[in-house]
Symmetry: C2
Subunit: 320 residues, 2 copies
Amino acid sequence: MKTVSRVLNNEPNVREETRNRVMRTVEQLKYKPNLSARSLAGQRSYIVALVYNNPSRNYLMEIQGGMLEACRAHHYNLILAPVGSGKRTADDIKGLFENFGPDGVVLIPPLTDDNVVLSYLEEHEVPFACIAPRNPRDRIGVMMEETAAVLELMAGLIELGHRRIGHIKGPRAHGACQWRYAGYREALRKAGIAYDADLVTQGEFSFESGMSGANVLLDLTQPPTAIFAANDDMAAGVIRAAGERGLAVPRDLSVCGFDDTPIARHIYPALTTVRQPTSEMGRLATLELFDRIRTPDAGRMVHVEHTLLFRESTRPPKKR
Amino acid sequence: MKTVSRVLNNEPNVREETRNRVMRTVEQLKYKPNLSARSLAGQRSYIVALVYNNPSRNYLMEIQGGMLEACRAHHYNLILAPVGSGKRTADDIKGLFENFGPDGVVLIPPLTDDNVVLSYLEEHEVPFACIAPRNPRDRIGVMMEETAAVLELMAGLIELGHRRIGHIKGPRAHGACQWRYAGYREALRKAGIAYDADLVTQGEFSFESGMSGANVLLDLTQPPTAIFAANDDMAAGVIRAAGERGLAVPRDLSVCGFDDTPIARHIYPALTTVRQPTSEMGRLATLELFDRIRTPDAGRMVHVEHTLLFRESTRPPKKR
DNA sequence: TTGTAAGCGTTATCAG
DNA sequence: CTGATAACGCTTACAA
């Protein structure tokens, strides 16, 4: 009995011949281990949780897809753990462990940088992986060079001839938005364009916040000729707001977003944006998590590549 | 020990005083039952699966949210079970039960009407609930009067003065699409407008299929003045295709969709559509499933209400 | 109405 | 390297 257990769990100390014999019999009998019994005896749940707060739905869906793939491959189970914000975060996280006891969790922004969550996990020594954390030091998971991506995107805009470029920031709590904002400023500096605080507004990743941000920027006495929104949903809102003011994109205003969610292609005009391999990021983060679950200090911070997509929503500014 | 078990499982035959005493102690000790042990001993997994094939992402996400809510309330766990199409369906469904052994499943279109899946479930006597099945007889779950909804939507179009109304159908396998198509024909009949097969094309719910469907319809010698697409994604594609041909919506063409996904509000012009309470439908279906899991013949087919949303994408046809 | 004893199907311990 | 035996924390069957 124990020998079979050893074989099925890839444990050492089994003669090769015995291992094969077991494998063969397992095949013949179509034996499938019972998950509950395994969990009970092994003190593990074979569950990983995707912990999230309030991400954009598309982002969540993609991450989830990638994680699901990794989980299936490792005979793990994925559960979804939405947690409330503010005061409720602590309770929800606690409830998650009391009820389901996942062997590890994956954190996505903005929760990747939430101290309540992080300290709970560290205190209880729960293995966890982060996606796009603000501070990647000592973390495992996956990240992208967001600043570099924005730098390239902005360089494209500047090359088209834009000098007054507006920016709609993402939520403050969202680490990635700091990186994107940093890229915005750095690009201006490199191009020798003075930073103008009026051209930057605070958004919250929603379509609506993109609209209101655009309205603020377009109301300026000297409005921007291009707007870089920190995600696609907001960029879509910008296009909408522009349309309602009788401005055509890209003729009167260039717009770009970030993420390459489906809306980027489906909106008219199609959005210039940066593609994140979101699903792949979910998969990779989960893989690192598995490493760490298996061995305490294993797992790394993986870097993934971005892709620039110049589409219809950007063109040179109108001559005045 | 057994008494505590009885209390925690709401079983009968416990004196009220004893029940209270147990409850109080459970509180004090912050006792949480161990899920694995429960499953092992009780021969149940406390898992329900959302089984799906290839639905639109938004739809899936909404259903999932509603199911999650119901599961949390009943201390059940939700797992996602994407299954491949064609030959792989049977294997995937089998794998689902061998690996996770869910106590029941929820089916969403187009899988609600898949014979391979249905016969597996019936044969193995697995409790299941359906969302929007083509044939609701003997099924439990939730459905909406899709035909009636389309009838109202079409009546609106006709009242605006449209006589040549195109329709882009959803996937054949998708039960709901039959209902929507039926509504389309019925509305024409009621208004005394002759049915013209040229005005109907086959789509597959994707943005791209909406575009190509629109192109077919707009290429007709006598093109429609309005197009009803069987879902919002396709309607968005129609708007896009129209734009690329230099036609403005709604000035030159009225467009309406179905579902009220976020894109319906985010696109320009905002889409006239029918709102389905998708998330609520996920929740309700799961509740019916729980009923049936508990008692073999329990559970009903719940009906939910739709809402018509007339927005910017429809207006009277241009005078010639 | 309450409690006892025997599993449920694995993994962990430890002796061969 | 292999295998007997005891957990793991509950539920079911059956007494009391």
